[in-house]
């Protein structure tokens, strides 16, 4: 039974890193003063701290999958 006083399990299960959302794509400016788009945007809302954590987790998960031999 999941321990209800421990938030770790719920926090982990809610972190859906397989389908990291791209709900807020970066706005593209059209004016002369717009930022040069030298870096290609991934479509992720990196201003969201949870997304940044998810990205970090994704790297570790991929490494785990490599170790376990379950990577694609």
């Amino acid at each position: 039974m999941l321990n209800k006083s421990n938030p770790a399990a719920a926090a982990y299960l809610r972190m859906d890193i397989e389908n990291l959302s791209d709900d807020k794509p970066e706005k593209k400016g059209t004016g002369l003063l717009r930022k040069p788009s030298s870096v290609k945007s991934s479509g992720l809302d990196l201003s969201n701290p949870a997304v940044r954590v998810g990205k970090q987790m994704q790297v570790i998960r991929n490494y785990r999958n490599k170790i376990n031999g379950t990577s694609d």
């Binding site: 321990n3 421990n6 770790a8 926090a11 982990y12 701290p49 954590v53 970090q56 987790m57």
Partner: protein, 172 residues
Amino acid sequence: MALLTDEPTFDRPIPGQSLTAELGGRPWQSPPQYSNIDEVMDFYMERMSSEEFMMQAIDILEMGVPVTTLANTIQMANVMEGVHTLDVSMLALPLIMEMLMLLGDSENIEYDTGLEDKNPKTRDTLLTKLALQYQDVIDEADLTPNVDAGEAEEDTQEEVNEEPSGLMARRD
């Protein structure tokens, strides 16, 4: 066996003693060392990559302590030490768990993630038992209505032809 004696113990904290410390005297009452998730992630990545931490964590995982419990203990200790706040630690928890699982996988340990529901209660409930017991009966039962089609049609026509009889009914 001090617990079995009837003697009163006087070495316990008195009620409200936890509130007598000077405000800001505790580490968690002062501003945290790291205030945002990026700094906290860097802190944990560096801390958890150390040889000392890895050896201790592996020992604890081998003892059968679930990853969720260990991760929660780690974040709680750091909140109490004033390293980061509790809300930032909620964000960092999945990352701590992932790192601990990586440690377990790299050392080839059979660890408990703490994510599985070991005692699902739904199968033990009376309703589930009854449903399983009578499932065959329900499946075999003929539940189609056994009414004559002609009678049913007449009934519906009578209902339609019924004239309104209330006070507000329209008069011809």
